[in-house]
Amino acid sequence: MNHSMDTPVAAPHTTTTNSAGRVMASVMAALAPATLFGFWLYGWPAVYLWLITVSFAMLGEAFCLRLTGRQAIPVLFDGSALLTGWLLAVSLPPWAPWWIGAFGGLFATVLGKQVFGGLGQNLFNPAMVARVALLISFPLQMTAWVAPLPLFSAAAPGLIDGLRITLTGAPPGFDAVASASLLGFAKTEMSRGLDLLQSLAQAPVPGWYGSHPGSMGETAALLIAAGGAAMMMLRLISWHIPFAMLAGIAVPAAILHAVDPARYLDAGTHLLSGGAMLGAFFIATDYVTSPNTPRGQLIFGAGCGLLTWVIRTWAGYPEGVAFAVLLMNSLTPIIDSYVKPRIYGRDRKGVALEPVK
């Protein structure tokens, strides 16, 4: 839009070259290394699932925009639907059937975002809304993790086999199938009466570099953290939410593990398992659904972390990041209305300062 001199515009007359689309693109760039690594670890089924999830997320967005009579193309180009689908995809079991991705993608953008009024209006993180909906509706498929089977390794499914796995489910015979994630494993063993000291001896060891089963975002914890660090350096996100969330998980975990190692997993395992890293750097930091002030973000992050740990430790689900984030999302407006920055020349309550000579 070029304004002629007949239509003066108000100051400022210069603006950042940044844009919403660029912000989304940068976040995706930070997420890309972990995703590519996940593709390599889990092979073609993971690639297909990612493609399907992302496409359906964008489809859902386009459909809603059409419905409300808005232009779909420019809004799709802001990349937010793509990012939502992407975040959902990397939190799914990589070999999940196609309809998990399709249903999840649609659910995320249609019910998670557009019904609230679109970008910036949703109260809850759309990717996590979809993930929880899937987890409740399809608990079996959502907890069927596979051990990594790197692309091009002998046992890995090829292009066509991979497609078959995504479309019709994994055929019996692939060694990879039906492994439990570490958190799920610990939970089932505990419920069988085995304590952690015994059960963890045969458990898959969590690692920074992806040797244990999990979602793509879980397995590549190191690359996720590196992507998060890159976002902090680019000032896309600040350190407050990730730091507070990881501390919220690690501190209670470390304390109770010290008290009773037979019943409580250690902090390191907690941090490297499940969606902790993905949640801390990419999910909880979602602008729309998290508080805006540094202090509010610390509270929010700590709440996410603490709830994650509580759900993992005491609730029925092995993983709690999605639930924790959604719960804290619902508190965001309250945090935002109570925790405000101090205004220049006023105290925290908004009362004018006393002049000091």
């Binding site: 001199m5 108000a10 007359h13 405000k340 920055p341």
Partner: protein
Amino acid sequence: MGLFERIFKEPRWGVHPDDHKRPAADVPLRLLPPPARVYMPLHQHVGGAARPVVLAGQKVLKGQLLAEPQGNISAPIHAPVSGTVAAIGEVTAPHPSGLGFAAITLDSDFEDRWIDTARVADPFSLDPAEIVRLTAAAGVVGLGGATFPAAVKFVLGKRLAVKSLIVNGGECEPYLSSDDRIMRDHAGQVVDGARIVMHAIGAIEALVGIEDNKPEAIAAMRIAAAPFPEVKIMPVPARYPMGSDKQLIQTLTGKEVPADARAAEVGVLVHNVSTCAAVHTAVRLGRPLVERIVTINGGAVAKPGNIFAPLGTLVEELLAFCGLKETPSRLILGGPMMGTPLLHGRIPLVKGASGILAFDAGEALVPAAGPCIRCGGCTRACPMGLLPLEMAARIRTGDLDGAAGFHLTDCIACGCCAYVCPAHIPLVQYFSHAKGELSARQRARLRSDAAKRLAEARIVRLEREAKEKAEVAARRKAERKAAKAAAAAAAAAAQPEGETV
């Protein structure tokens, strides 16, 4: 450490726009020859408009008084060229939507003859009140853009016993370099002016804050201030809006000006470097403010730079002097962050104009606004600690009181929030609209209060009048009755005596 600082040490406020200063700042100052015609607006300062004291057709010398101040806060206007008064009154704008302005129009005789002025060899031997008088008589106003009459501020500073004079050499607006240029070329005048102001207000030190992106100015000012330990040159980080009074005071002294209070109440007074130089000229040379340095910059300008020009020169003449590469897509009076868009170039240069920007098509491009993604960028950038996104969200739904609850009135309209917004939401436009609306409501409330008071007073008066009337009537009636009774009594008394009356 670099990594750590990058992640954990975020500046508390402000933005860092591309400064675009060098193309104009590094070019030596140029002198504009007197234009054929100048237009001196009667109102180019905060306060009452000046009242003309010359007549059409009258010959005037450069620096001669054209219009005198009216009211407590006002400033006089002087002739920027020698010549003849061509007209007094409304100058119509050559544009359907442009408003005219009241001005004195002068035809130049191109001789540039000054009036005789009284020089002061030692201003420090003068009484401070005399400096106030000289500054006021010279029409010196805040040249950083605030245009508040300088002498009025001196009086205030003196009354509140201000300790530190803050000399604002921040010039944080991109593209502008008129303050930079005056510090590089006339550092001596700036320092001397600052010392004269100190004397006028009784300050014991002058803190000169200069953004560290102006090393040449800092060097020149250090040399000029070397003999005077009370004048301290203090480089400050280049960060917009460092040149805003409140932010500069905080950076230099650590003090915060309380909300709704004046800087003088925390013991400081801020004057711009160009204002100090103007005080020097006014007091030492007795010369009124009739010329200034103005930056001409922007992508459409062929030879950007700083021009020393008579006030009242038309913007289009200044642009023509520097040459235009293309028709400007936007003209701005002031800087790009807070400046006012101009509808056309037939506007005269005024005292508060530190720059004229002519943007090319690329610079004038306004990206389309999108929905707020709640990134919080605006909150981090706001130097006042406000929550622009929350205020904007409320203004959008018409909830102005809600926005006011977030202390909208503390907004200094610096534009940082709108500058950083990746959704390109015109936040400042929202805020100025809401502030205007709120103050209109406030005025309306005051007016209706006043009307109510008047109406109530009228009722009281009417009631009182009615009561008084009734009392008068009752008294009359009583009097009449009494008179009648008296007459009857008299008649009765007279009766026995028979027809003697």
